[in-house]
Protein backbone atom coordinates (compact mmCIF):
# COMPACT_ATOMS: atom_id res chain seq x y z
CA UNK A 1 0.00 0.00 0.00
CA UNK A 2 1.32 3.37 -0.91
CA UNK A 3 1.52 5.62 2.04
CA UNK A 4 1.48 9.13 0.74
CA UNK A 5 1.66 12.42 2.52
CA UNK A 6 -0.95 12.34 5.28
CA UNK A 7 -4.11 13.46 3.68
CA UNK A 8 -5.44 15.37 6.61
CA UNK A 9 -2.40 17.60 6.56
CA UNK A 10 -2.99 18.59 2.97
CA UNK A 11 -4.97 21.72 2.89
CA UNK A 12 -6.89 20.87 -0.21
CA UNK A 13 -8.47 23.29 -0.77
CA UNK A 14 -9.17 26.45 -1.48
CA UNK A 15 -12.69 25.47 -0.41
CA UNK A 16 -11.65 25.69 3.21
CA UNK A 17 -10.07 29.06 2.84
CA UNK A 18 -13.03 30.29 0.82
CA UNK A 19 -15.26 29.19 3.68
CA UNK A 20 -13.04 31.15 6.08
CA UNK A 21 -13.25 34.26 3.93
CA UNK A 22 -16.99 33.84 3.43
CA UNK A 23 -17.81 33.43 7.08
CA UNK A 24 -15.21 35.52 8.88
CA UNK A 25 -13.91 38.15 6.47
CA UNK A 26 -16.83 38.85 4.16
CA UNK A 27 -19.25 40.34 6.73
CA UNK A 28 -16.51 42.62 8.01
CA UNK A 29 -15.40 43.55 4.49
CA UNK A 30 -18.86 44.29 3.10
CA UNK A 31 -19.84 46.28 6.20
CA UNK A 32 -16.69 48.40 5.86
CA UNK A 33 -17.03 48.77 2.10
CA UNK A 34 -20.69 49.77 2.36
CA UNK A 35 -19.90 52.37 5.02
CA UNK A 36 -17.00 53.67 2.91
CA UNK A 37 -19.13 53.96 -0.25
CA UNK A 38 -21.92 55.61 1.72
CA UNK A 39 -19.47 58.11 3.22
CA UNK A 40 -18.36 59.12 -0.29
CA UNK A 41 -21.93 59.46 -1.51
CA UNK A 42 -21.76 56.46 -3.84
CA UNK A 43 -24.59 54.48 -2.24
CA UNK A 44 -27.53 55.50 -0.08
CA UNK A 45 -30.98 56.98 -0.39
CA UNK A 46 -30.23 60.64 -1.03
CA UNK A 47 -26.72 60.28 -2.41
CA UNK A 48 -26.21 61.10 -6.06
CA UNK A 49 -22.51 60.74 -6.79
CA UNK A 50 -19.00 60.93 -5.46
CA UNK A 51 -18.39 63.63 -2.87
CA UNK A 52 -15.98 64.27 -0.07
CA UNK A 53 -18.36 66.75 1.55
CA UNK A 54 -19.34 64.37 4.36
CA UNK A 55 -15.69 63.72 5.19
CA UNK A 56 -14.95 67.41 5.27
CA UNK A 57 -17.97 68.04 7.50
CA UNK A 58 -17.03 65.28 9.94
CA UNK A 59 -13.35 66.17 10.04
CA UNK A 60 -13.96 69.90 10.45
CA UNK A 61 -16.54 69.51 13.23
CA UNK A 62 -15.17 68.88 16.73
CA UNK A 63 -17.83 66.26 17.62
CA UNK A 64 -15.96 63.11 16.54
CA UNK A 65 -12.63 64.35 17.90
CA UNK A 66 -14.19 65.11 21.29
CA UNK A 67 -15.91 61.74 21.27
CA UNK A 68 -12.64 59.94 20.49
CA UNK A 69 -10.85 61.85 23.24
CA UNK A 70 -13.69 61.36 25.71
CA UNK A 71 -13.96 57.61 24.96
CA UNK A 72 -10.18 57.16 25.10
CA UNK A 73 -9.98 58.98 28.44
CA UNK A 74 -12.82 56.94 29.94
CA UNK A 75 -11.33 53.70 28.60
CA UNK A 76 -7.82 54.60 29.81
CA UNK A 77 -8.95 55.65 33.31
CA UNK A 78 -11.11 52.52 33.63
CA UNK A 79 -8.34 50.19 32.46
CA UNK A 80 -5.66 51.86 34.62
CA UNK A 81 -7.83 51.71 37.76
CA UNK A 82 -8.90 48.12 37.04
CA UNK A 83 -5.33 46.96 36.46
CA UNK A 84 -4.06 48.84 39.55
CA UNK A 85 -6.82 47.48 41.75
CA UNK A 86 -6.33 43.95 40.46
CA UNK A 87 -2.56 44.03 40.90
CA UNK A 88 -2.92 45.32 44.44
CA UNK A 89 -5.51 42.63 45.25
CA UNK A 90 -3.48 39.80 43.73
CA UNK A 91 -0.10 40.81 45.12
CA UNK A 92 -1.37 41.77 48.57
CA UNK A 93 -3.97 39.05 49.10
CA UNK A 94 -2.65 36.19 46.95
CA UNK A 95 -2.73 33.60 49.71
CA UNK A 96 -6.28 34.44 50.77
CA UNK A 97 -7.48 34.47 47.14
CA UNK A 98 -6.47 30.86 46.67
CA UNK A 99 -8.84 29.59 49.39
CA UNK A 100 -11.67 27.68 47.65
CA UNK A 101 -14.58 29.85 48.90
CA UNK A 102 -12.88 33.17 48.15
CA UNK A 103 -11.61 31.85 44.85
CA UNK A 104 -15.18 30.96 43.87
CA UNK A 105 -16.31 34.44 44.96
CA UNK A 106 -13.81 35.96 42.54
CA UNK A 107 -15.54 34.29 39.62
CA UNK A 108 -19.05 35.43 40.58
CA UNK A 109 -18.86 38.96 39.06
CA UNK A 110 -18.12 37.41 35.66
CA UNK A 111 -21.75 36.27 35.64
CA UNK A 112 -22.94 39.88 35.46
CA UNK A 113 -23.26 41.35 31.95
CA UNK A 114 -22.56 44.99 31.13
CA UNK A 115 -26.20 45.99 30.84
CA UNK A 116 -27.02 44.61 34.31
CA UNK A 117 -23.93 46.21 35.77
CA UNK A 118 -25.00 49.58 34.33
CA UNK A 119 -28.49 49.08 35.75
CA UNK A 120 -27.01 48.26 39.16
CA UNK A 121 -24.77 51.37 39.12
CA UNK A 122 -27.83 53.43 38.23
CA UNK A 123 -29.74 51.90 41.13
CA UNK A 124 -26.96 52.76 43.57
CA UNK A 125 -25.85 56.20 42.46
CA UNK A 126 -28.90 57.90 40.92
CA UNK A 127 -30.39 60.81 42.85
CA UNK A 128 -33.14 58.54 44.16
CA UNK A 129 -30.81 55.55 44.38
CA UNK A 130 -29.56 53.54 47.32
CA UNK A 131 -26.72 55.85 48.39
CA UNK A 132 -28.90 58.91 48.09
CA UNK A 133 -31.47 57.27 50.41
CA UNK A 134 -28.70 56.24 52.79
CA UNK A 135 -27.32 59.80 52.82
CA UNK A 136 -30.79 61.13 53.57
CA UNK A 137 -31.32 58.69 56.45
CA UNK A 138 -27.91 59.64 57.89
CA UNK A 139 -28.83 63.31 57.65
CA UNK A 140 -26.10 64.12 55.10
CA UNK A 141 -28.64 65.45 52.56
CA UNK A 142 -32.11 66.89 53.08
CA UNK A 143 -33.61 66.14 49.67
CA UNK A 144 -32.85 63.90 46.69
CA UNK A 145 -31.75 66.87 44.57
CA UNK A 146 -28.89 67.59 47.00
CA UNK A 147 -27.23 64.27 46.17
CA UNK A 148 -24.30 64.79 43.77
CA UNK A 149 -24.87 64.08 40.10
CA UNK A 150 -23.06 60.77 39.64
CA UNK A 151 -25.13 59.32 36.80
CA UNK A 152 -25.20 60.85 33.30
CA UNK A 153 -22.60 63.28 34.67
CA UNK A 154 -19.85 65.19 32.85
CA UNK A 155 -17.03 63.23 34.51
CA UNK A 156 -18.56 59.89 33.47
CA UNK A 157 -18.34 58.66 37.06
CA UNK A 158 -21.08 56.06 36.52
CA UNK A 159 -19.55 54.75 33.29
CA UNK A 160 -16.05 54.47 34.74
CA UNK A 161 -17.30 52.78 37.90
CA UNK A 162 -19.29 50.26 35.85
CA UNK A 163 -16.33 49.55 33.58
CA UNK A 164 -14.09 49.00 36.63
CA UNK A 165 -16.66 46.65 38.16
CA UNK A 166 -16.69 44.67 34.91
CA UNK A 167 -12.95 44.67 34.27
CA UNK A 168 -11.38 44.35 37.73
CA UNK A 169 -12.77 40.83 38.45
CA UNK A 170 -11.45 39.63 35.12
CA UNK A 171 -8.02 41.15 35.71
CA UNK A 172 -7.82 39.74 39.26
CA UNK A 173 -8.36 36.22 37.91
CA UNK A 174 -6.05 36.88 34.97
CA UNK A 175 -3.18 38.08 37.20
CA UNK A 176 -3.80 35.31 39.71
CA UNK A 177 -3.40 32.73 36.92
CA UNK A 178 -0.39 34.57 35.52
CA UNK A 179 1.22 34.64 38.98
CA UNK A 180 0.89 30.86 39.18
CA UNK A 181 1.85 30.09 35.58
CA UNK A 182 4.94 32.29 35.65
CA UNK A 183 6.01 30.71 38.93
CA UNK A 184 6.42 34.13 40.51
CA UNK A 185 6.24 32.79 44.05
CA UNK A 186 9.47 30.86 43.48
CA UNK A 187 11.12 33.90 41.88
CA UNK A 188 10.14 36.03 44.86
CA UNK A 189 11.61 33.41 47.21
CA UNK A 190 14.89 33.54 45.29
CA UNK A 191 14.94 37.34 45.56
CA UNK A 192 14.26 37.14 49.31
CA UNK A 193 16.97 34.53 49.83
CA UNK A 194 19.36 36.88 48.00
CA UNK A 195 18.61 39.59 50.53
CA UNK A 196 15.57 41.51 49.21
CA UNK A 197 12.79 42.23 51.65
CA UNK A 198 9.37 40.69 50.72
CA UNK A 199 7.84 44.02 49.61
CA UNK A 200 10.81 44.80 47.38
CA UNK A 201 10.70 41.29 45.91
CA UNK A 202 7.04 41.81 44.99
CA UNK A 203 7.62 45.29 43.55
CA UNK A 204 10.84 44.55 41.66
CA UNK A 205 10.23 40.96 40.57
CA UNK A 206 6.52 40.05 40.33
CA UNK A 207 5.03 43.42 39.41
CA UNK A 208 7.18 44.10 36.30
CA UNK A 209 6.63 40.55 35.01
CA UNK A 210 2.85 40.75 35.50
CA UNK A 211 2.71 44.15 33.78
CA UNK A 212 4.83 43.03 30.86
CA UNK A 213 2.96 39.77 30.32
CA UNK A 214 -0.44 41.50 30.40
CA UNK A 215 0.36 44.32 27.95
CA UNK A 216 -1.56 42.88 25.00
CA UNK A 217 -4.63 41.94 27.04
CA UNK A 218 -4.69 45.39 28.65
CA UNK A 219 -4.51 47.08 25.25
CA UNK A 220 -7.21 44.83 23.82
CA UNK A 221 -9.49 45.71 26.72
CA UNK A 222 -8.80 49.38 26.08
CA UNK A 223 -10.06 48.86 22.51
CA UNK A 224 -13.11 46.94 23.74
CA UNK A 225 -14.02 49.81 26.05
CA UNK A 226 -13.50 52.34 23.27
CA UNK A 227 -16.39 50.69 21.41
CA UNK A 228 -18.61 50.03 24.44
CA UNK A 229 -22.27 50.74 23.82
CA UNK A 230 -24.85 49.74 26.42
CA UNK A 231 -23.06 51.10 29.49
CA UNK A 232 -22.58 54.65 28.10
CA UNK A 233 -26.07 54.48 26.58
CA UNK A 234 -27.57 54.02 30.06
CA UNK A 235 -25.13 56.06 32.13
CA UNK A 236 -23.69 58.61 29.68
CA UNK A 237 -24.59 62.24 29.11
CA UNK A 238 -25.93 63.95 25.99
CA UNK A 239 -22.63 65.50 24.93
CA UNK A 240 -19.89 64.45 24.49
CA UNK A 241 -20.85 60.84 23.96
CA UNK A 242 -18.80 57.71 23.69
CA UNK A 243 -18.00 56.62 20.13
CA UNK A 244 -20.52 53.82 19.59
CA UNK A 245 -23.37 55.86 21.03
CA UNK A 246 -22.46 58.87 18.87
CA UNK A 247 -22.10 56.82 15.66
CA UNK A 248 -25.38 54.98 16.26
CA UNK A 249 -27.15 58.26 16.95
CA UNK A 250 -25.84 59.70 13.67
CA UNK A 251 -26.82 56.58 11.72
CA UNK A 252 -30.34 56.65 13.11
CA UNK A 253 -31.03 60.31 12.37
CA UNK A 254 -34.40 61.33 11.04
CA UNK A 255 -32.56 63.79 8.81
CA UNK A 256 -31.44 61.48 6.00
CA UNK A 257 -28.80 63.98 4.87
CA UNK A 258 -26.92 63.36 8.11
CA UNK A 259 -26.70 59.57 7.76
CA UNK A 260 -23.59 59.63 5.49
CA UNK A 261 -21.81 61.54 8.25
CA UNK A 262 -22.60 58.64 10.57
CA UNK A 263 -21.06 56.22 8.07
CA UNK A 264 -18.01 58.47 7.76
CA UNK A 265 -17.58 58.30 11.52
CA UNK A 266 -18.00 54.50 11.39
CA UNK A 267 -15.24 54.27 8.74
CA UNK A 268 -12.89 56.45 10.80
CA UNK A 269 -13.60 54.48 14.00
CA UNK A 270 -13.13 51.11 12.24
CA UNK A 271 -9.89 52.24 10.58
CA UNK A 272 -8.39 53.60 13.81
CA UNK A 273 -9.31 50.50 15.85
CA UNK A 274 -8.09 48.15 13.11
CA UNK A 275 -4.77 50.00 12.89
CA UNK A 276 -4.27 49.91 16.66
CA UNK A 277 -5.08 46.18 16.70
CA UNK A 278 -2.68 45.57 13.81
CA UNK A 279 0.16 47.39 15.58
CA UNK A 280 -0.53 45.58 18.86
CA UNK A 281 -0.19 42.21 17.17
CA UNK A 282 2.79 43.29 15.08
CA UNK A 283 4.68 44.49 18.14
CA UNK A 284 3.78 41.25 19.91
CA UNK A 285 5.12 39.26 16.96
CA UNK A 286 8.33 41.31 16.93
CA UNK A 287 8.77 40.62 20.63
CA UNK A 288 8.43 36.88 19.99
CA UNK A 289 11.01 37.06 17.19
CA UNK A 290 13.51 39.39 18.85
CA UNK A 291 12.82 38.72 22.50
Amino acid sequence: MKISEPMLLKNRGNIGILLFFGVIIMPFAIAFLYALLYSFGLVGILNDGFTIAYWLTVLSAPQLGYSFLYSALIAAVSVIFSVGLSLFTVLYLKKALNKPFINFMLYMPLAIPGIVSAFFTYQLFARTGFFSRLSYQLGIITEAASFPDLINDQFAFGIILTFISLLAPFFILFYLNLYKNENLEALERVAISLGANPKLATLKVSLPILLKKSQTVVLLYFIFLLGAYEVPLILGQESPQMLSVLILQELRQFDLNKIPEGYTMAVIYTSVVSLITFFIFRSQKNKVIHG
Binding site: M7, L8, L9, N11, I17, L19, F20, V23, I24, P27, F28, A31, Y34, A35, L93, A96, I102, M105, L106, Y107, M108, P109, L110, A111, I112, P113, I115, V116, S117, F119, F120, Y122, Q123, T128, F130, S132, R133, Y136, Q137, F170, V217, Y221, F224, G227, A228, Y229, E230, I234, L243, I247, L248, L251, G262, A266, Y269, V273, S274, T277, F278, F281
Partner: protein, 257 residues
Protein backbone atom coordinates in the same frame (compact mmCIF):
# COMPACT_ATOMS: atom_id res chain seq x y z
CA UNK B 1 2.65 43.52 66.71
CA UNK B 2 1.95 44.76 63.19
CA UNK B 3 -1.75 44.70 62.49
CA UNK B 4 -2.64 43.02 59.19
CA UNK B 5 -5.29 44.63 57.03
CA UNK B 6 -5.71 41.52 54.93
CA UNK B 7 -8.83 40.10 56.66
CA UNK B 8 -10.44 43.53 56.34
CA UNK B 9 -9.73 43.71 52.59
CA UNK B 10 -10.94 40.15 52.05
CA UNK B 11 -14.21 40.95 53.87
CA UNK B 12 -14.68 44.07 51.74
CA UNK B 13 -14.02 42.00 48.63
CA UNK B 14 -16.66 39.40 49.56
CA UNK B 15 -19.22 42.09 50.43
CA UNK B 16 -18.56 43.86 47.11
CA UNK B 17 -19.01 40.61 45.20
CA UNK B 18 -22.21 39.52 46.93
CA UNK B 19 -23.87 42.93 47.18
CA UNK B 20 -25.12 43.18 43.54
CA UNK B 21 -26.62 39.69 43.65
CA UNK B 22 -28.46 40.28 46.93
CA UNK B 23 -29.55 43.80 45.94
CA UNK B 24 -30.96 42.74 42.56
CA UNK B 25 -32.72 39.73 44.08
CA UNK B 26 -34.35 41.89 46.77
CA UNK B 27 -35.29 44.55 44.20
CA UNK B 28 -36.86 41.90 41.98
CA UNK B 29 -39.06 40.84 44.92
CA UNK B 30 -40.10 44.38 45.79
CA UNK B 31 -42.86 46.71 44.83
CA UNK B 32 -43.31 50.25 46.03
CA UNK B 33 -40.05 51.86 47.06
CA UNK B 34 -40.53 55.58 47.48
CA UNK B 35 -37.68 57.94 48.35
CA UNK B 36 -36.23 58.08 51.06
CA UNK B 37 -37.02 54.53 52.21
CA UNK B 38 -33.89 52.39 52.49
CA UNK B 39 -35.82 49.14 52.32
CA UNK B 40 -38.81 48.62 49.99
CA UNK B 41 -42.21 48.62 51.68
CA UNK B 42 -43.54 45.45 50.03
CA UNK B 43 -41.76 42.17 49.56
CA UNK B 44 -43.12 39.09 47.86
CA UNK B 45 -43.04 36.83 44.87
CA UNK B 46 -45.66 38.71 42.86
CA UNK B 47 -43.08 40.00 40.36
CA UNK B 48 -41.65 36.52 39.91
CA UNK B 49 -45.14 35.13 39.26
CA UNK B 50 -45.38 37.66 36.43
CA UNK B 51 -42.78 35.69 34.47
CA UNK B 52 -45.50 33.37 33.23
CA UNK B 53 -47.96 36.18 32.38
CA UNK B 54 -48.01 36.62 28.64
CA UNK B 55 -48.61 40.40 28.71
CA UNK B 56 -45.31 40.95 30.57
CA UNK B 57 -43.47 38.96 27.91
CA UNK B 58 -40.66 37.83 30.19
CA UNK B 59 -41.23 34.15 29.54
CA UNK B 60 -41.09 34.75 25.78
CA UNK B 61 -37.92 36.80 26.23
CA UNK B 62 -36.39 34.02 28.33
CA UNK B 63 -37.28 31.39 25.73
CA UNK B 64 -35.96 33.60 22.90
CA UNK B 65 -32.70 34.13 24.75
CA UNK B 66 -32.30 30.39 25.37
CA UNK B 67 -33.14 29.47 21.78
CA UNK B 68 -30.82 32.11 20.26
CA UNK B 69 -27.94 31.35 22.65
CA UNK B 70 -28.19 27.56 22.14
CA UNK B 71 -28.29 27.92 18.35
CA UNK B 72 -25.44 30.42 18.24
CA UNK B 73 -23.32 28.34 20.64
CA UNK B 74 -23.88 25.10 18.69
CA UNK B 75 -23.10 26.57 15.27
CA UNK B 76 -20.20 28.73 16.50
CA UNK B 77 -18.55 25.84 18.37
CA UNK B 78 -18.81 23.36 15.52
CA UNK B 79 -18.06 25.92 12.80
CA UNK B 80 -15.23 27.48 14.80
CA UNK B 81 -13.63 24.07 15.32
CA UNK B 82 -13.62 23.31 11.60
CA UNK B 83 -12.52 26.80 10.57
CA UNK B 84 -9.74 26.85 13.15
CA UNK B 85 -8.26 23.71 11.56
CA UNK B 86 -8.32 25.34 8.14
CA UNK B 87 -6.54 28.39 9.55
CA UNK B 88 -4.08 26.42 11.71
CA UNK B 89 -2.79 24.40 8.72
CA UNK B 90 -2.59 27.35 6.36
CA UNK B 91 0.72 28.95 5.35
CA UNK B 92 -0.55 32.39 6.28
CA UNK B 93 -1.80 31.21 9.68
CA UNK B 94 -0.71 34.29 11.64
CA UNK B 95 -2.23 36.77 9.22
CA UNK B 96 -5.51 34.84 9.12
CA UNK B 97 -5.69 34.77 12.92
CA UNK B 98 -5.02 38.50 13.04
CA UNK B 99 -7.85 39.10 10.55
CA UNK B 100 -10.15 36.95 12.69
CA UNK B 101 -9.72 39.38 15.56
CA UNK B 102 -11.26 42.32 13.68
CA UNK B 103 -14.96 41.36 13.67
CA UNK B 104 -14.61 40.36 17.28
CA UNK B 105 -12.82 43.44 18.52
CA UNK B 106 -14.88 46.14 16.80
CA UNK B 107 -17.94 47.64 18.39
CA UNK B 108 -20.73 45.14 17.56
CA UNK B 109 -23.33 47.90 17.25
CA UNK B 110 -21.33 49.90 14.70
CA UNK B 111 -20.62 46.68 12.82
CA UNK B 112 -24.31 45.69 12.98
CA UNK B 113 -25.50 49.12 11.85
CA UNK B 114 -23.21 48.98 8.80
CA UNK B 115 -24.52 45.50 7.98
CA UNK B 116 -28.19 46.24 8.56
CA UNK B 117 -28.74 47.24 4.90
CA UNK B 118 -27.75 43.72 3.79
CA UNK B 119 -29.88 42.08 6.46
CA UNK B 120 -32.82 44.12 5.19
CA UNK B 121 -32.16 43.04 1.59
CA UNK B 122 -32.31 39.33 2.49
CA UNK B 123 -35.28 39.67 4.85
CA UNK B 124 -33.25 39.00 7.96
CA UNK B 125 -34.05 42.31 9.59
CA UNK B 126 -36.28 42.21 12.66
CA UNK B 127 -36.45 38.45 13.00
CA UNK B 128 -34.75 35.75 15.02
CA UNK B 129 -32.82 34.29 12.07
CA UNK B 130 -31.20 37.67 11.50
CA UNK B 131 -30.24 38.02 15.16
CA UNK B 132 -28.70 34.53 15.17
CA UNK B 133 -26.67 35.24 12.03
CA UNK B 134 -25.58 38.64 13.38
CA UNK B 135 -24.41 37.07 16.64
CA UNK B 136 -22.58 34.35 14.73
CA UNK B 137 -20.54 37.03 12.97
CA UNK B 138 -19.06 37.82 16.39
CA UNK B 139 -19.01 34.41 18.05
CA UNK B 140 -17.55 32.42 15.13
CA UNK B 141 -14.26 34.38 15.09
CA UNK B 142 -14.13 33.98 18.86
CA UNK B 143 -14.52 30.19 18.56
CA UNK B 144 -11.92 30.10 15.78
CA UNK B 145 -9.37 31.92 17.95
CA UNK B 146 -10.35 29.78 20.94
CA UNK B 147 -9.50 26.50 19.16
CA UNK B 148 -6.19 27.85 17.80
CA UNK B 149 -4.11 26.09 20.47
CA UNK B 150 -5.77 22.71 19.83
CA UNK B 151 -4.04 22.20 16.46
CA UNK B 152 -0.61 21.75 17.96
CA UNK B 153 2.22 19.45 16.90
CA UNK B 154 0.94 16.58 19.05
CA UNK B 155 -2.55 16.57 17.58
CA UNK B 156 -1.15 16.97 14.07
CA UNK B 157 0.98 13.89 14.61
CA UNK B 158 -2.07 11.97 15.82
CA UNK B 159 -3.91 13.02 12.64
CA UNK B 160 -0.93 11.87 10.59
CA UNK B 161 -0.91 8.55 12.40
CA UNK B 162 -4.61 7.96 11.68
CA UNK B 163 -4.02 8.78 8.00
CA UNK B 164 -0.96 6.51 7.85
CA UNK B 165 -2.96 3.66 9.37
CA UNK B 166 -5.59 4.05 6.68
CA UNK B 167 -8.23 6.12 8.44
CA UNK B 168 -10.07 8.55 6.22
CA UNK B 169 -10.95 12.15 7.05
CA UNK B 170 -14.33 11.31 8.52
CA UNK B 171 -12.96 8.54 10.74
CA UNK B 172 -10.16 10.80 11.89
CA UNK B 173 -12.60 13.61 12.65
CA UNK B 174 -15.31 11.58 14.39
CA UNK B 175 -13.26 8.93 16.17
CA UNK B 176 -10.11 10.85 17.00
CA UNK B 177 -10.32 14.64 16.83
CA UNK B 178 -13.77 15.13 18.37
CA UNK B 179 -13.05 12.91 21.41
CA UNK B 180 -9.68 14.65 21.83
CA UNK B 181 -11.30 18.08 21.74
CA UNK B 182 -14.32 17.13 23.88
CA UNK B 183 -13.33 19.28 26.87
CA UNK B 184 -12.46 22.30 24.75
CA UNK B 185 -15.64 21.94 22.72
CA UNK B 186 -17.69 22.01 25.90
CA UNK B 187 -15.90 25.10 27.23
CA UNK B 188 -16.24 26.86 23.87
CA UNK B 189 -19.93 25.97 23.73
CA UNK B 190 -20.59 27.64 27.08
CA UNK B 191 -18.37 30.61 26.26
CA UNK B 192 -20.20 31.30 23.00
CA UNK B 193 -23.50 30.63 24.77
CA UNK B 194 -22.61 33.44 27.18
CA UNK B 195 -21.47 35.80 24.41
CA UNK B 196 -24.91 35.38 22.88
CA UNK B 197 -26.72 35.41 26.23
CA UNK B 198 -25.13 38.75 27.24
CA UNK B 199 -25.41 40.38 23.81
CA UNK B 200 -27.44 43.57 23.58
CA UNK B 201 -26.27 45.94 20.80
CA UNK B 202 -26.45 43.63 17.77
CA UNK B 203 -29.73 42.12 18.95
CA UNK B 204 -31.26 45.58 19.31
CA UNK B 205 -30.02 46.76 15.88
CA UNK B 206 -30.73 43.65 13.78
CA UNK B 207 -33.70 42.47 15.85
CA UNK B 208 -35.21 45.95 15.54
CA UNK B 209 -36.74 45.57 18.98
CA UNK B 210 -39.07 42.87 17.62
CA UNK B 211 -36.86 40.02 18.82
CA UNK B 212 -37.21 40.40 22.56
CA UNK B 213 -34.41 38.81 24.55
CA UNK B 214 -33.66 39.28 28.24
CA UNK B 215 -31.03 41.98 27.60
CA UNK B 216 -33.54 43.89 25.45
CA UNK B 217 -36.09 43.54 28.28
CA UNK B 218 -33.64 44.88 30.89
CA UNK B 219 -33.04 47.94 28.73
CA UNK B 220 -36.76 48.46 28.07
CA UNK B 221 -37.56 48.30 31.79
CA UNK B 222 -34.77 50.77 32.59
CA UNK B 223 -36.22 53.16 29.99
CA UNK B 224 -39.71 52.70 31.44
CA UNK B 225 -38.29 53.22 34.96
CA UNK B 226 -39.82 49.86 35.92
CA UNK B 227 -36.90 48.91 38.14
CA UNK B 228 -38.59 45.92 39.77
CA UNK B 229 -39.10 44.12 36.46
CA UNK B 230 -35.67 45.38 35.40
CA UNK B 231 -34.17 43.63 38.42
CA UNK B 232 -36.26 40.53 37.72
CA UNK B 233 -34.98 40.35 34.12
CA UNK B 234 -31.44 40.93 35.44
CA UNK B 235 -31.82 38.00 37.85
CA UNK B 236 -32.97 35.76 35.00
CA UNK B 237 -29.99 36.95 32.97
CA UNK B 238 -27.49 36.27 35.76
CA UNK B 239 -28.83 32.88 36.82
CA UNK B 240 -27.49 30.63 34.00
CA UNK B 241 -23.90 31.96 34.24
CA UNK B 242 -23.97 31.46 38.01
CA UNK B 243 -25.10 27.86 37.50
CA UNK B 244 -22.34 27.37 34.91
CA UNK B 245 -19.83 28.82 37.37
CA UNK B 246 -20.98 26.39 40.01
CA UNK B 247 -20.58 23.49 37.56
CA UNK B 248 -17.19 24.55 36.24
CA UNK B 249 -15.38 27.88 36.48
CA UNK B 250 -13.73 27.37 33.09
CA UNK B 251 -17.14 27.62 31.41
CA UNK B 252 -17.27 31.30 32.31
CA UNK B 253 -13.72 32.53 32.73
CA UNK B 254 -11.93 31.84 29.44
CA UNK B 255 -13.67 34.63 27.58
CA UNK B 256 -11.23 37.12 26.10
CA UNK B 257 -8.30 35.91 28.18
Amino acid sequence: MVKSWKPFFVTILIVLVLFPFIYLLLLSMSSGWAFPQIIPSNFGFDNWKAITQSEVGLFTALMNSILIALTVASIATFGGFILSRIVAYHKQKNSLILISYFPYILSPVVFGACLSFFFMKVNLFGNMGGVIIAQLIISLPYALIFFGSFWNEKNRNIENLVATLGGNKIVSFVKVLLPLAKGLLLVCFFQTFLISWFEYGLTAIIGLGKVQTLTIKVFLYIKEANFFYGALSSCLLIMPPVILLYLNKRFVFNRMS
